[in-house]
Symmetry: C2
Subunit: 276 residues, 2 copies
C-alpha cells in the first residue's frame, strides 16, 4: 500500500514541469483551502523562489512554499486594489528578469474573472516566458460543496458564469441581460452579493421568474460554509436579512432545487450541538 | 527547504477528509494528466477500496491507487455506454453497502456535463453517504493551455458552457439559441466536434458573425495538444479538413484572438524539429 508513504509529487513527476528561472507561472490556487490545489499548483508553490499571491489565498497553500521563498501579498479586497495591476505586472516582470522562478498565485482559476489574461499579456509583451495553470474556480467549488449540479439532464444543458461587478463596481451595463437571462438555463454570478438588488431586478425584468430558486453560497468547502436558498423575487431582502457579504457565489436556476436532496456537506458536518 | 522531501498529502492533512467505509465520493479527476488532480482527489484515490472510473481517466491518476484497490472502468466513449447509468448507480450503491470506501472517479468536474448529479441523486435516494469533489473541467483546462482567457476586461464579462450533444447525440433543441448566442460574450462547447456543422449554422442564424474567431482545443495539456483557430463561417470546413475528433472543446468569441499572443504551450514545447 502506497498511501501517505511516498511523496505524491515524486510519483507524478512525469506530469510536472520544471520551473525555469526567469519565467512566471500564473497559477490558480482553487477557491478554498489547500485541498483544492492541483498537483501542478502544489509543485509550483514548492519550487518557486518568490510568490505574489492574492489576499484570499488560504494560508495552508502558502505553507507549502520553500522556507526561503519570498512571499508577497498583492491582493485586492472588496474592489480596492492594495497594489495596482500595473505594479503587479511590473513586479512579476522585474522578478523574472532577475532570474527568479516567479509564481503568481491567484484565487480560483487565472482565466476566470481574475485578470490573469491581462497579466499574461503584460508578460508576453515583455518577452517573459510564462505558463498558465488552471484552478478550481469559485463557481465549481460552490456547486460541488452546495450540492447543486450545474448541468443536469432535463434541467440544464447550458450555464453561464457572469461577473456582477465591473471595473466601476456596478452591474455590467454592456451585457445583453434579456438575452443572457433567456439563453442560459443556469446563471452563476461572481462578486454578486453587493449587487443583488440590481441583479435581481435586472433578471426579473429580463424574464426570469420571481419564484425561480436562488442559492447564495458563501465560503464553499470551509468550516464556515453557508448556503442560503431563496427565490429571485425576494433575493435582495434575503441577502439583507442574512447579512450576506462578498465573496458569495450566486446560482440562479431550477438546479438549485436539487440542493435539498444533495446537501452532503451539511450531512457530513460534525453535529456539535447534538447531545445524546 | 521542504520541496519534494516530505509527503505533500501529510502536510495538508488538516484539509483532507477521512474516507469512511460505506460511503461514496464522486470526484473530478480533471481533464488531462495526473498533474490536474487536486490534493483532495489524490487523497481520495490513495484511500479508496474500489474505484469506478471513466474511460478518459489518465493512467497516471489510477497509478496513485493502493495496490490492493479494485479498479473498474465504467466509461463511455463516443456516446456509447459500455455500462449503463443504472448499472453504475447500482454498482456504487452495492459497494458502499458492502462497507467499502467507494470512489467514483470522473473526468473533469462531476457537476459539469458528467451526470454526477444523477449519480448523487441515486446515492441520496439509497441513503448512502456521499461527498462531491470538484475537478478542473475540460473548458478550464482548454482555456489555460490554449492561452485563451474566458474573461477579459473590455471583451468578456460573461461566458457560457454548453453541451453540443444531448441524449440523442444531437445539438440540444430546447436551448434558446438566439438568446444564448446574443447573451454570452464567449461560448464554450463540450462534445462539439461531431456537431460543428449544425452548431456553426445555428450560431450564424442566431446572429454571431461569420468572421468571429473559433478555437478547437484538442487534448489540452497533453503532448499531443492541438489548437486550431478558424472563423465561425468556415468552422465546419476547417473541422473536416483537420480531421478533428471528439473530445474537442470549442471556444467562440473575441477572446480567441488572444491565443496568438498567449500561446505559451507552443512556446514551451521542445522544438524537436529545430536543429542548432
Amino acid at each position: 500500500m502506497h498511501s501517505g508513504q511516498e511523496d505524491i509529487l515524486a510519483r507524478v513527476k512525469h506530469c510536472l514541469p520544471e520551473f525555469a528561472g526567469g519565467s512566471v507561472w500564473l497559477c490558480g490556487a482553487g477557491a478554498g483551502d489547500a485541498g483544492l490545489l492541483t498537483l501542478l499548483a502544489a509543485n509550483a508553490i514548492a519550487q518557486a523562489d518568490c510568490i505574489f499571491y492574492d489576499a484570499l489565498i488560504d494560508a495552508g497553500c502558502l505553507a507549502l512554499a520553500r522556507a526561503d521563498a519570498a512571499l508577497c501579498c498583492v491582493g485586492k479586497r472588496g474592489g480596492r486594489a492594495s497594489v495596482s495591476q500595473a505594479e503587479i505586472n511590473a513586479a512579476l516582470t522585474g522578478a523574472a528578469r532577475a532570474g527568479k522562478k516567479v509564481l503568481r498565485l491567484k484565487g480560483g482559476d487565472p482565466f476566470v474573472f481574475g485578470r490573469g489574461g491581462e497579466e499574461a499579456l503584460a508578460l508576453a509583451q515583455a518577452g517573459i516566458a510564462f505558463r498558465i495553470i488552471p484552478g478550481i474556480t469559485a463557481a465549481l467549488a460552490a456547486a460541488s460543496y452546495a450540492g447543486i449540479p450545474l448541468s443536469q439532464r432535463g434541467m440544464s444543458q447550458s450555464f453561464a458564469f457572469i461577473t456582477a461587478c465591473d471595473e466601476s463596481g456596478q452591474l455590467p451595463h454592456n451585457i445583453n441581460w434579456p438575452a443572457l437571462a433567456q439563453g442560459a438555463e443556469v446563471l452563476v454570478f461572481y462578486m454578486a452579493a453587493r449587487q443583488i438588488k440590481a441583479l435581481a431586478e435586472t433578471l426579473l425584468q429580463a424574464g426570469r421568474g420571481a419564484d425561480e430558486p436562488v442559492a447564495f453560497v458563501i465560503n464553499a468547502g470551509l468550516a464556515n460554509q453557508r448556503v442560503v436558498i431563496t427565490g429571485l423575487g425576494q433575493a435582495a431582502e434575503t441577502a439583507k436579512a442574512e447579512v450576506l457579504a462578498s465573496p458569495a457565489i450566486i446560482i440562479v436556476g431550477e438546479v438549485v432545487n436539487l440542493h435539498a436532496q444533495l446537501d452532503w456537506f451539511a450531512a457530513a458536518a460534525p453535529k456539535t450541538k447534538e447531545r445524546n
